[in-house]
Structure formats: C-alpha cells, structure tokens
C-alpha cells in the first residue's frame, strides 16, 4: 500500500529534534512500510494542493493535513524561501536577509499581510482549493477550526496546545518548537495509532481527550530564547 502525506509542519517528516520520531515514523513502524511526505514547514494550502495535484495518482491512501488559511506562497526568483506562514517570518527575513531581492519580496509580503490581506477572501480561496482535493481514500485533518469549512471538532492545534497549557507557555509569542510535528512524543505516537486505525478501518476517531500531557521537560518542548 502506498501512502502519501501532504501538509505543513504538522507533517514535516524531516524535523526530528533530539532524534525523536514523528508520527509518520511511528506509522511506518506499525505498517512496516515507508510513507511519502510532501509536507513542508510553514507552507500554505496552495503548496500542498500543488503537490497533491502533481503526485496523488501514485498513492492508495492520502493523509492531507490542512493548514491555516492565509499563508503565502512565493515563486519569484531571487529567494530560495517559498513559504510565508505569517508576518513574523516575513518581517524577520525582510530585516535580516543579505539578499536584496529576498528583502524586497519579504518586505512586500509583510506589508501585504498587514495592510491588504482580507481573511474573508483567504477563507474563500482556501475552501475553493480544498474542494478540488478529492480522492477515493483521503483523510483531511485540520490544523485549525478554519482549516475545514464548518468544522467544530478537535484540531491539531488543540493537540499542540496540550503541552503549552501544561507548562503555561504563551501561545501568542511563538518560539522555537523542539517537538516533532508540534506534539509531544506520546502524542505523536497516539496520533500515528489513530491514522493507522483509519488506514485499516476507514474510521478516524480524533478527540483531544485521547491525547496526553507531556512527559518531557519544558525545555525539551520549546526553546524560549530562539524564535522559530
């Protein structure tokens, strides 16, 4: 069985601080096969949709992590960075990059996010794009409540915030996350088990109550000095 995963940092296969396993590694262990992740940290929905349209035909099962609406995609030459998840990163690159083109692109992005971006339009775009993601065996998992239209259940942000709440970490002030896929190790494993069940049975039971408080220390969860 061939399994593809699309999405943002909640499905970033390569980010493994302290050699921890992501939920995708746990899933591979249970399935005894490799999965293919096209996810990229910081990416917006357009990037995932583009990857999906290019590649989904080769796969039997699709796990689509649906990111926040409103993230920007860059395809201009002059920068190797193609994802702008929000204004903090846009400002950071605009201020610190030595590359003049990159500075201009990210400065334009920061201003755009501040002065122009219209959330209603972003939601409209987001749901238009999601409508085009159809596969006979696809699981769409929301990062936020707005990720899916009229959604009111558990989100991946809820799972991530279990650790923030446990250690009373300020959610509004993003710092460097030292967890795989923004979840503690136990929760990466629990999440993998839920995905495994979906692959086997077609049922996805996703409730925040099923996830656990961290056993890691606070400084294994987040670096409070470094920004993302």
């Amino acid at each position: 069985m061939k399994i593809a995963i699309y999405g943002d940092s909640y499905a970033d296969y390569r980010y493994q601080p302290r050699n921890n396993k992501t939920w995708m590694h746990y899933l591979e262990d249970r399935l005894n096969t490799r999965v293919t992740s096209f996810a990229a940290s910081g990416s917006g929905l357009y990037f995932s949709v583009k990857k999906y349209l290019e590649t989904h035909g080769e796969f039997d099962k699709i796990i689509f992590i649906v990111t926040f609406p409103g993230r920007l995609y860059v395809s201009q030459t002059g920068t190797h960075l193609i994802h702008i998840p929000g204004i903090s990163l846009a400002n950071l690159v605009a201020e610190t990059s030595d590359n003049l083109n990159e500075k201009k692109i990210f400065s334009a992005a920061a201003d755009y996010l501040l002065y122009v971006q219209n959330y209603e339009e972003e939601l409209f775009k987001h749901y238009c794009m999601l409508d085009r993601i159809n596969h006979n065996s696809i699981l769409k998992i929301p990062v936020s409540l707005d990720s899916l239209e009229n959604y009111n259940g558990t989100t991946l942000t809820d799972i991530s915030h279990i650790d923030y709440d446990y250690y009373q970490i300020d959610k509004a002030n993003p710092k460097k996350d030292l967890r795989c896929c923004h979840m503690n190790q136990q929760n990466n494993k629990i999440f993998a088990d839920k995905i495994y069940d979906w692959i086997q049975t077609g049922n996805f039971d996703f409730k925040v109550e099923d996830f656990k408080d961290p056993t890691e220390s606070k400084d294994e969860i987040i670096d409070l000095v470094l920004y993302i």
């Binding site: 395809s75 334009a108 992005a109 755009y112 002065y115 122009v116 409209f124 238009c128």
Partner: protein, 221 residues
C-alpha cells in the same frame, strides 16, 4: 428574459456617465435592456473575487440567464479601513500607480498593493483566478462567460487606431461606455443577444469597427 450581468468596466455602463456626457451613445447593456429585464452588477475596476462575491450574494434562481465578464487575474481586492470607515477597493498596477500621485495620504496602502504586484503576484494567484471561474460555472453551468482577453481585442482595435502610447490614455477619462465606441457597443450587444443560449462567446475583431468620431469624443479631460 431576466438577466444578471457581473463583471468589471466592460459591463459597467454607469461609472463615468452619471449626469454627464449625454452625447455618448448607448452601451451594449442598453441594447439588451430593450428586450430584457437587466440587473447589472458590474463594477468598474473590480477584480474577479469582487464580482464573485456579488454573484454569490445574489439569488441566481431569479434570473433566466447570467452573463459573467471575467476580468484579468492581476487585480486585487482590498478592504480599506480609514477613520473607522471601511471601504472596498479593487486595484491593478496601473490604477495603483496613478492613485499614488493623486492621494499621497494613502501612500502606504498603495505602495503595499504596488509591491504586491511587483514582488509577490505569482502562479498561486493565477490558480485561484481559475478556481473562481470553475466555481461560477459549477454554480450556474448555463452562464455566458465572456473573457477579458476577447473584450481587449475590441478595446485594442479602437485604441490602436489613435496610435498613442498606453500611458497617454491615463491623462483622459474614457467616455466610451464599456470601453467601446457606440458602433462597437451595438455590434457587441447584438452578439451577446444572439449568444444568450450559449455558455461562451466567440469574438471576431474583424466584425468590429474603428472609431468614426474625433478622439475628444471618446477620451475627455
């Protein structure tokens, strides 16, 4: 027949003509008004998202036919908040550049839109434009879709006739209704009337005509 028209200045026959320029002849929409009840939701300068918002807000079941003028993708919708007032704006690069000189107070907004077009506009915006078109057709598959590339053929036939540089036109107000001279409005009106049972329209620029009057009739200070 009851018809709703959505689109930009190619369909907006009211923007510049309120109480002035009574010597300018009827628009192609006026031609259709002779035979049908028309609700015209077109708005000059609007982007496709803006027109689609109007389209979504209207009860389409009230109409026997929808005509949708699909504008160019390189336009942007913005809600401007100033002095606790909100207003909707639609921009393209040309309008932004001209407004930057006229309204220095809004410089920051305008510079942002300008920089968006120069540094940020990309394939994702084109893709979204295409999704809106598909969404319109999905919602009303009998919609008569008229694409700006076709309408530009008529506009260019006229502007090329004057052999002026593009920026020259920014010094004038376009007094032509829907960017077409009177004769072409009539030709286009008939073409649309004959295409009301269709979903696309084929525009052959050879059936349209070059201007018959002085430049000052069409372009005014």
């Amino acid at each position: 027949m009851k018809i709703a028209i959505f689109g930009d200045s190619f369909g907006d026959d009211k923007i510049n003509w309120k109480d002035q320029w009574e010597d300018v002849g009827p628009s192609w929409v006026d031609y259709l008004r002779q035979y049908h009840i028309i609700d015209n939701f077109s708005f000059g300068g609007s982007c496709l998202y803006y027109s689609k918002k109007k389209f979504d807000a209207v009860n389409l079941d009230l109409y026997d036919k929808i005509i949708f003028l699909v504008t160019q993708s390189m336009r942007r919708y913005q809600v401007v908040k100033e002095d606790s007032q909100e207003s909707e704006k639609n921009w393209n690069l040309n309008t932004v550049i001209s407004r930057m000189h006229q309204y220095p107070r809004n410089q920051r907004y305008l510079q942002t839109i300008h920089d968006f077009f120069v540094y940020m506009y990309n394939e994702s915006d084109e893709y979204f434009h295409q999704l809106i078109i598909e969404d319109i057709i999905r919602k009303r598959n009998d919609t008569l879709m008229i694409y700006y590339q076709d309408l530009l053929k008529i506009q260019r036939l006229e502007t090329n006739y004057w052999q002026r540089k593009g920026l020259d036109y920014l010094k004038f107000r376009d007094a032509r209704k829907c960017h077409m001279n009177e004769e072409n409005n009539l030709i286009f009106g008939k073409l649309v009337q004959n295409s009301l049972s269709e979903t696309t329209i084929k525009i052959d620029e050879n059936v349209f005509v070059t201007p018959k009057k002085e430049f000052s009739h069409y372009f005014r200070p």
